[in-house]
């Protein structure tokens, strides 16, 4: 593990757009004065005629994206998760979701790993909000390899897609050569029989590290990566829960309405199972270095391992 490469998934997003721009000539990118931060600036540099800055006006940007999609383009509307899912929620719902238009929303700076900017910019609610929109696909990639694959999968999917990316550089654990992204399909990264740890986004790698630690302590944990939160892979989740009988969900998002809630929705109907949720509790974030904040909020391998061990008993 000495030479682990780290990269922020927002960086992967910008690079993927620039890489895919040649292949998909219908791809256009919109941003709201954050191209340097969302990394769509990488696309802008390569395709200046297919990039449109909308200024600090996210509501209008989402509507413009809707109009472009209604006339045959594939627009990626990019801004921070707080403004994409938060400020522009009703436009996403009524102008993109209701007419089921082919708009891709690239939401970066999700979760508390935004760090020093603090609570106003740490969006822990976006998955919950987007889940309520009928027909919305939600993807929360775990690393660089998955993020890039997800961008192309979003292009190939006809319909609205919300994609969630992070600001913090995180380990690249997927193998680019063998990785395969299937929309709506979870990935069992590690098989186990004692407990199912179901994670998404930046927490997938933490769950893998926790599972190694648990193994050394005699606990055999299964680790599942749910990159597509909607539609969720209910079969995989129910089968794993039936096998282990205990489920621990982990996400860098509010425990209200996110992955944990989605997993509970599945299990309540298909396989009632004891579930514990690790995420941001019913509270706002605050300022601090991202890595430190993740520790403080328990979004780290140590807390995952400790909680799993308590559940296994």
């Amino acid at each position: 593990m000495a030479d682990v490469i780290k990269k922020a998934t927002r960086e992967s997003y910008g690079e993927a757009l620039a890489e895919l721009g040649d292949k998909y000539e219908n791809l256009y990118v919109l941003d709201a004065d954050l191209a340097a931060a969302t990394k769509t600036g990488i696309f802008k540099k390569k395709f200046p005629d297919r990039f449109f800055d909308c200024g600090i006006a996210e509501a209008n940007m989402m509507g413009v994206a809707a109009g472009m999609a209604a006339t045959g383009k594939i627009p990626f509307a990019s801004t921070f998760a707080m403004f994409a899912a938060g400020r522009a929620f009703e436009i996403v719902r009524n102008s993109i979701g209701y007419p089921h238009l082919n708009v891709k929303i690239g939401a970066t700076h999700a979760g508390i790993s935004v760090g020093e900017d603090g609570a106003t910019h740490q969006c822990n609610e976006d998955i919950a909000l987007m889940r309520t929109i009928p027909g919305m696909t939600i993807i929360n990639p775990a690393d660089d390899v998955e993020a890039k694959a997800a961008v192309e999968a979003a292009i190939l999917h006809n319909g609205p897609v919300y994609m969630r990316f992070g600001r913090l550089a995180v380990p690249v654990f997927n193998d680019k050569e063998t990785y395969k992204f299937e929309l709506g399909k979870g990935i069992t990264l590690r098989s186990g029989k004692d407990i199912s740890i179901i994670a998404t986004g930046l927490m997938v790698n933490e769950a893998l590290v926790a599972a190694e630690k648990l193994a050394s302590e005699g606990v055999d944990a299964e680790v599942i990566n749910i990159h597509t939160i909607k539609p969720i892979d209910s079969e995989l989740i129910a089968a794993s829960a039936a096998k282990t009988g205990k489920v621990l969900t982990v996400e860098e998002h509010s425990i209200i309405g996110g992955l944990g809630s989605a997993v509970c929705d599945v299990l309540a109907e298909k396989c009632p199972t004891r579930v514990k949720k690790i995420g941001v509790n019913d509270e706002f974030g605050h300022s601090g270095p991202a890595a430190k904040l993740l520790e403080v909020f328990g979004l780290c391998s140590d807390n995952i391992a400790k909680t799993a061990k308590e559940m296994v008993g």
Binding site: A59, G67, K73, S95
Partner: protein, 279 residues
């Protein structure tokens, strides 16, 4: 305007108004006032200006229309029915369970280019369509109609800034200045005035028109086509409820349907007007 064309448009507009009353009465709800105020403008657009194809509603080269003031869907539906996008019979099931015609415009209805009705959003979608035409050098134009109350929404001014910044001269927005919104006179609720100066300050070419005079509408929309390098707004002075005497300039007809007696009276007034035009 050619006298024959003008007569035809006046006749069609009268039929559009009859369809509005039919739909709203059948639904026992809806927005007749603001529908009647844009009936002439929609008639002009669909019967004298826009390239649209009822037999090929999704033809990519067609001009686009977004009803940003989406609550006046009865006017759009009635116009589309007159144009032949779907049978006039559909108007009788407006807002009914399982019906095609939803309370606000829905993109799945033949001839409807964008779902709309949450105020302030339609103009942004129209901007996106106009930008889309520009980037792929397509010649179609994009038209949208906003309410004068609707422009109280902040998103309208985000869109106004955007359209001017990207020089969307293939976009024509109409502000239907009937002077009334749900809570009363727009000037009393939250004044949007001066509307013309505001759009001019945002970089738009501004034209004023009489919403119930086809010569004035023709002059306005023709002038709009001569403008390059900036978007065009037509601020049209209109009468809410136009064509039905007891609904005219009366705020209580913003969002309520006529009862059977009022329906009969509205119908007889419009039928008399139609008969006079056809005489």
């Amino acid at each position: 305007m050619d006298a024959m064309l003008k007569k035809r448009l006046e006749i069609t507009a009268c039929k559009v108004r009859l369809g509005i009353i039919e739909g709203v009465h059948s639904a026992k709800s809806g927005h007749p006032g603001g529908s009647l105020s844009i009936a002439d403008t929609l008639t002009y657009l669909y019967f004298a200006k826009m390239n649209v194809y009822p037999d090929k509603p999704d033809e990519p080269s067609r001009d686009r229309f977004v009803l940003s003031k989406g609550h006046t869907a009865p006017a759009l539906y009635s116009t589309l029915a007159q144009k032949g996008f779907f049978p006039e019979e559909e108007l009788k099931s407006l807002r009914h369970v399982g019906a095609m015609l939803q309370g606000h415009p829905c993109i799945t209805i033949p001839g409807v280019d964008m779902s709309s009705g949450s105020l302030g959003q339609g103009i942004s979608a129209a901007c996106g369509m106009a930008l889309s035409a520009k980037v792929s050098s397509e010649p179609y134009k994009v038209y949208t109609i906003l309410g004068d109350g609707e422009i109280q929404e902040g998103q309208v001014w985000e869109a106004a800034m955007f359209a001017a910044h990207y020089k969307l001269d293939n976009l024509v927005a109409v502000v239907d200045n009937n002077g009334l919104q749900i809570d009363g006179r727009v000037a009393d609720v939250m004044s949007p005035y001066p509307i013309t100066d505001k759009f001019a300050a945002f970089g738009w070419h501004v034209i004023e028109a009489d919403a119930h005079d086809f010569d004035s509408l023709e002059a306005a929309f023709n002038e709009a086509e001569t403008i390059s390098g900036q978007p065009v707004v037509i601020v049209q002075k209109s009468i809410k409820g136009k064509g039905v005497s007891f609904m005219e300039d009366n705020v209580s007809w913003h969002g309520s349907a006529p009862n059977d007696e009022q329906y009969a009276q509205a119908r007889s007034e419009l039928e008399a007007a139609l008969a006079a035009l056809q005489a």
